[in-house]
């Protein structure tokens, strides 16, 4: 088995590069079987531990950077596996999965959204028997106040957001970060009226980066990914609104072996290190 994959880039759905990489993989591995998606149907192949085929991972948008890195490592370890990552808001992904989108693994940004999937499509029964009906928790994320680099409104505490003339952007209640925002407000006992309820956390971050608002509530990981374009301010009330990230192998997964291995990879040491570097906490 070769140690390195022909390309360190993560293949994505719909890219012509995908077939090129697959072809290159086939050439370099001429000796071994390289049957693409069909190979997992004809039993175990010659080696019971060998994983192959396409692995479809649906993950919350906040996991983008971490999962792309982890996918590169995973493909280096299992050169016959193509990890196809699909990132979007958790709620949107849950709707897609329940409507029959081809997914092997789902990683959600909160337990409620994972609940939408476990209530409807459900998780793989064998996997769930081992790891729990609601998926396995692998990370946590807390809210931070994001302000433009020079902090024009001089925000220091969560209560400062409630002041008149301070323009604040929140996530809409319908998406996980909005639900967390509501919990933090309840914990703080302050009532803040934002100027906008954005459709997802990245939209809040954009409004802060452009300086259109004085502050926004986003996740710690978003502040890390925005580098020096925003400044993050911790606030104690955020501890009351910690988001748990569950991951699970979906019922009817096309590639359950690779899916299970992927989840082990995320839950393992490498996964923990990547998650920590991106600003996630441990559950």
């Amino acid at each position: 088995m070769p140690e390195t994959p022909p390309s360190s880039r993560i293949p994505r759905r719909d890219t012509p590069a995908l077939s090129l990489i697959a072809a290159a993989t086939c050439l370099t591995l001429a000796a071994t079987a390289c049957g693409g998606g069909e190979s997992d149907e004809d039993g175990q192949g010659q080696d019971a531990g060998e994983l192959s085929g396409e692995l479809d991972v649906f993950a919350a948008a906040s996991l983008t950077d971490v999962f792309e890195d982890l996918a590169a490592d995973f493909e280096a370890e299992h050169p016959d596996v193509d990890v196809v990552l699909n990132f979007a808001g958790s709620s949107e992904l849950a709707v897609q999965i329940n409507s029959g989108a081809p997914a092997d693994v789902f990683a959600a940004a909160d337990t409620a959204t994972m609940g939408q999937v476990t209530d409807d499509l459900g998780l793989d029964p064998d996997w769930a028997g081992e790891h729990g009906e609601d998926g396995a928790l692998f990370a946590t994320n807390t809210l931070q106040i994001a302000v433009p680099p020079d902090n024009p409104a001089g925000i220091e505490t969560f209560d400062d957001l409630a002041e008149d003339g301070t323009d604040v952007a929140f996530c809409a209640d319908e998406v996980p970060c909005g639900a967390a925002t509501a919990e933090a407000m309840e914990a703080a006992g302050t009532d803040i009226t934002p100027v906008t309820y954005e459709e997802d956390v990245r939209a809040v971050l954009t409004k802060v980066e452009l300086g259109e608002v004085d502050a926004g509530l986003v996740y710690t990981t978003d502040v890390v990914s925005a580098e020096d374009r925003v400044e993050g301010i911790d606030f104690p009330e955020a501890e009351e609104a910690v988001n748990d990230y569950p991951i699970g192998l979906l019922s009817g997964a096309q590639n359950p072996e690779a899916g299970e291995a992927w989840i082990e990879h995320v839950l393992g040491e490498d996964g923990a290190a990547e998650l920590d570097a991106a600003g996630f906490g441990t559950p």
């Binding site: 809409a172 906008t196 459709e199 452009l210």
Partner: protein, 278 residues
């Protein structure tokens, strides 16, 4: 007599031709039916999956009503603004020669091509609090545009006005210029020619363009949520409410979509009866 004779045998021939034209050719009918099916089936899908029993209750939700009201008023305001600015622009493009006219026409149609979200970002970069013009509006007049109802209208004008301009410019080019020339020869000024001759002549084109513009403004989502944000009552229009509902309660999203569809259909059908078929 000799001149009339060729006309007489032609008459039955023409009648036969008309009789044959009564049955439309299948080469047009089949694709037309496919087009109708493709456009109508998704609507039927909404109708079938709608939660009819609790429809009435959902419709009385004050947030739904305020979103609907905001959508109707902002789309109408956007159409009025587009008419005031777009008709003169269409006239300039169709009736005058100036350097860079082709470039201007190409630029005017840019909003049709770019994704509305990009349009929203562009509006923020120009009119936002830190935007090129927005900074001055803020420091000189204390005006900030994002997150206001005015921003909703501006986003709608940005994406919808090109439809009006293109449609009006098309009718201006199709209109017979001899009437305008006759009026000018009789001493009418260019303004009089425009208001008394040109405008009445292309009125159907303006009406069609305005309807198209209104419909596009009503459905506007991407530029609105990016530039105006999403706040119930001030900037949350129906398409935004539908999107938000989709995140938590897809059934509610279906109800909202149906309401928007039915109201817009009702308005368009009424207008059509009144203006286009008049």
């Amino acid at each position: 007599m000799t001149t009339a004779s060729p006309a007489t045998p032609a008459a039955p021939g023409r009648r036969r031709l008309r009789a044959r034209s009564g049955r439309p050719p299948w080469i047009l009918v089949v694709p037309a039916l496919a087009a109708v099916a493709f456009l109508v089936l998704p609507f039927a899908g909404l109708l079938v999956s709608a939660p009819w029993p609790d429809m009435g209750e959902r419709l009385r939700d004050p947030e739904v009503l305020s979103a609907l009201w905001l959508s109707l008023t902002t789309a109408t305001a956007a159409t009025v603004v587009s008419l005031l600015l777009g008709v003169p622009l269409a006239w300039l493009l169709a009736r005058t020669e100036f350097p860079g006219r082709r470039l201007v026409r190409a630029l005017v149609t840019v909003p049709l091509v770019i994704p509305p979200v990009v349009g929203g970002v562009a509006l923020l970069l120009v009119l936002g609090r830190n935007g090129i013009l927005g900074t001055h509006l803020d420091t000189w007049f204390g005006i900030t545009i994002p997150f206001t109802t005015a921003a909703v209208v501006m986003a709608q004008v940005f994406v919808a006005m090109p439809f009006l301009v293109i449609s009006v410019e098309g009718s201006l080019r199709g209109a017979d210029r001899r009437y305008e020339e006759a009026a000018a020869t009789l001493g009418a000024s260019r303004t009089t020619v425009f208001t008394r001759v040109t405008l009445p002549m292309v009125l159907p084109g303006i009406a069609a363009g305005a309807v198209l513009c209104w419909a596009r403004a009503l459905g506007e989502f991407g530029a609105t949520i990016t530039f105006a944000g999403n706040f119930p009552g001030t900037t949350q229009t129906m398409p935004l409410a539908v999107y938000m509902a989709m995140q938590r309660d897809p059934e509610a999203a279906v109800v909202l979509s149906l309401v928007l569809l039915l109201v817009s259909l009702a308005v368009l059908v009424t207008l059509r009866e009144r203006w286009v078929n008049a």
